[in-house]
């Protein structure tokens, strides 16, 4: 039986690969309503979309297909678990089956109207499960969704360690929010008990990402998935037996936000019983993806730092110095908590971080909180240009440059997403501009062919840091924390005064001035000390103690530059050639800044 299933799967793979070779645009044709061509949405001025975007999309889709096929092969070789006991448990391989189901769904392009976007498209393993296209990270920041070229507004946040964030809660004693997923914490975990699982539910129905118009489309597409038997093994026989109407395919082929849906979130007409089943499938989608992201496939605890805590690796002098700065002068671990040095001992009464006992052997390098670090508005962000209707009558951002990203504040007001707890709403003004403190783990992860994020004499992989991708290297990231308040200028990005260099000795004004965290901004670090913190951050990359799964799937080209001839070929000035002038900014849109309780002070 097992051999037969394996043989069947091999045929399926071969057919899939063959189809991909013969029809490279299979699934990618942007049509709607059975054959109506949907021209690409391109409201962008020249230079906003990177010139290699089309080829890079094809490259990543090919890599996604490769991982999906390997996951199918792993499933084919997985002994079936046995449902037994009370409560019934999938004994034996049940946990791996669930993780593998999550992986298969993560790299399934069919979960999008045009069958061209998987979750993994924006979250590839070799980039720490963040954005895999260097040119996108350098320019438009947000990734193009299933209907090209709609795009979101923020960088693709790393999956790694996201499952460890607690359910969003407001701790009255501490006066603070903890937990949630997404940059703005809008995946709260209020229903499934897991912010990560609820995070996984958002992109498939986000109008600018996968853009399925109805959550039931996930169940609909899973009914024809090659791994449907695995879904039914994990979540029960018959779990996908839903009576879909004949027009379900037409509906699911049309991106969300299309005017024809009239604003309906449930355009597929289902009976109450079938709608409940589809909702259950939607929840299980989140559950299994969460289990994949929590597994060692994604959250591996296999970095140099992890080896160091087990005395299996000796930090270099710079890495050690960086760790002490991370905990000391740099004060990074006030938020990116590393679990070390929290116990002063009699023998070591000072606060040298590396002479006390390890308080947590698996530190997550986050405080699970949020902060406004005062990032400047990034005028390259694709969101600002999507202020006209697309072919389907959808406008992502009617405010254009009047859009302000208030982060958690907008979520608590119910602007960015529904807020499931009205008791939180009054806290919106105190959280305007705040974004999640991501785990620092894997911030430096790159494909092995491009061994660094930092421009210089070796090939590098361009990443975008923070929620809006304004920062282009780890050196810049540390320098920003170090000097934001040393070189502040009352200008927007691209408009630094003559004689200054943006990101070196000119930091444009924050996009949101409210609630700026002042823990950092003037740390007094030397240039060398900044580099040492970068060296420490690089020890947090998984894959040192053992191979990091699928980290070898990158088939693209590294970025290169010549520091001898190119003044921007340094981590400090990396990406500066792509800076553009921020236009004069209109007032913040009333649909953002005019919603009660309004920001205090008002945001211009």
């Amino acid at each position: 039986m097992k051999r037969a299933r394996l043989f069947g799967m091999l045929i399926l793979f071969a057919a899939g690969i063959g189809a991909l070779l013969l029809f490279p645009h299979i699934g990618g044709a942007q049509t709607s309503r059975r054959g109506t061509p949907a021209p690409p949405y391109n409201p962008y001025p020249p230079g906003i979309l990177p010139p290699d975007l089309t080829s890079e999309i094809a490259r990543v889709r090919s890599e996604v297909a490769s991982i999906e096929n390997e996951a199918l092969a792993e499933w084919a070789g997985l002994p079936p678990p046995t449902l037994t006991g009370q409560p019934p448990t999938l004994q034996g391989t049940g946990q791996r089956a669930n993780q593998l189901l999550g992986k298969l769904m993560n790299f399934d392009e069919n979960i999008s109207p045009f069958k061209n976007r998987a979750c993994g498209f924006c979250h590839m393993p070799y980039a720490g499960f963040s954005g895999p296209i260097a040119s996108v990270n350098l320019t438009m920041v947000a990734y193009p969704g299933s209907y090209e070229f709609r795009a979101g507004k923020r960088t693709a946040q790393r999956y790694t360690y996201a499952p460890f964030f607690p359910v969003l809660n407001y701790n009255e004693t501490q006066g603070l929010f903890f937990g949630g997923n997404f940059w703005d914490s809008r995946a709260t975990g209020y229903l499934l008990g897991s912010p990560d699982a609820e995070q996984a539910q958002h992109p498939p129905v986000d109008t600018q990402e996968h853009a399925l118009p109805d959550t039931a489309c996930i169940a609909f597409r899973l009914t024809t998935a090659a791994y449907r038997p695995l879904f039914e093994t994990v979540w029960g026989a018959g779990s996908l037996n839903i009576n879909f109407p004949q027009n379900a395919e037409t509906i699911c082929d049309t991106p969300g936000g299309a005017s024809q849906f009239g604003g309906s979130a449930t355009p597929i007409n289902l009976t109450a019983e079938d709608r409940t089943k589809a909702n259950n499938v939607f929840d299980h989608w989140g559950n299994s993806l969460d289990q994949y992201e929590a597994s060692p496939d994604v959250s591996a605890f296999s970095s140099k730092f992890d080896a160091y805590t087990k005395s299996k690796y000796t930090l270099t002098a710079d890495e050690m110095a960086g760790m002490e700065l991370f905990n000391g002068k740099g004060n990074c671990n006030s938020c990116h908590i590393d679990g070390r040095g929290t116990t002063a001992t009699v023998l070591n009464p000072g606060f040298n971080p590396d002479h006390s006992k390890t308080a947590d052997v698996t530190p997550k390098f986050t405080c699970f909180g949020s902060a406004n670090e005062g990032l400047p508005l990034n005028p390259r962000d694709a969101i600002y240009y999507q202020n006209t209707p697309d072919f389907f009558g959808f406008t992502a951002n009617p405010d254009g440059f009047g859009f302000r990203d208030l982060g958690m504040g907008s979520f608590l007001r119910g602007v960015a997403a529904p807020n499931p707890n009205s008791n939180w709403t009054p806290f919106a003004p105190a959280t305007d501009g705040q974004f999640q403190v991501s785990s620092a783990r894997n911030v430096a992860m790159t494909p092995s062919q491009c061994p660094t994020t930092e421009a210089g004499s070796t090939p590098y992989f361009q990443k975008g840091f923070f929620h809006n991708g304004y920062i282009k290297s780890l050196k810049q990231l540390v320098h920003f924390y170090n000097t934001r308040d040393v070189y502040p200028f009352n200008v927007t990005s691209g408009n630094c005064p003559a004689g200054t260099i943006e990101k070196v000795n000119c930091w444009p004004m924050p996009e949101v001035k409210n609630n700026i965290d002042m823990t950092t901004g003037k740390l007094g670090l030397t240039d060398k000390e900044e580099d040492q913190i970068v060296a420490f951050l690089q020890t947090l990359t998984d894959g040192f103690t053992r191979f990091y799964p699928d980290s070898d799937k990158f088939t693209g080209t590294c970025m290169t530059c010549n520091p001898a001839t190119d003044p921007d070929c340094t981590p400090s000035r990396q990406g500066n050639r792509s800076l553009i002038q921020t236009p004069p900014l209109p007032a913040c849109g009333s649909d953002i800044c005019g919603v009660s309780p309004v920001p205090k002070p008002p945001i211009p």
Partner: protein, 147 residues
């Protein structure tokens, strides 16, 4: 040895012998509330620009909520400090002292301001510190034009 004793004394005096309660989700560790929070340096002007002033001061680690607010009460009349600016910072349980820094924005150029500083936990509990009234002047229009 003397250095060791000194460090112990400083640590004990600052009330910041650190206690960390391992938590399943490793949320921000809290530090024991200091018996007394006192300003040990400043307040002083870190930055004075036409549009932005930053005031900083250092206290012993106040402990308590992981997030604190530095608070500046200010105004143009030393007897009526009617305006308030506050900025959040995160305590580092590992540090004996804490630097508070507060941003004052949208000030009038060429104007003398008076201020006092203090701090509180994120839940509103006052740390019980308050500085004497100090003053600063923002650069005037002519200075701005020359920059």
């Amino acid at each position: 040895m003397n250095k060791l004793i000194l460090k112990l004394a400083i640590t004990a005096a600052s009330g910041s012998l650190i206690s960390f309660i391992p938590m399943a989700a490793q949320v921000s560790p809290t530090t024991h509330k200091a018996a007394r929070v006192r300003i040990i340096q400043g307040p002083e002007l870190e930055l004075v620009k036409e549009y932005l002033t930053i005031i900083r001061w250092t206290t012993n680690n106040p402990g308590g909520s992981p997030e604190h607010y530095g608070i500046v009460h200010y105004g143009i009349d030393p007897k009526n400090l009617s305006q308030t600016a506050k900025s959040p910072i995160r305590l580092n349980p590992d540090h004996a002292s804490t630097i508070f820094r507060v941003r004052l924005e949208d000030l009038k150029p060429g104007t003398t301001y008076y201020y006092t500083v203090g701090s509180m936990e994120a839940n509103g509990t006052d740390d019980g510190t308050k500085s004497a009234i100090k003053q600063f002047s923002t650069p005037g229009e002519s200075q701005r034009a020359g920059r």
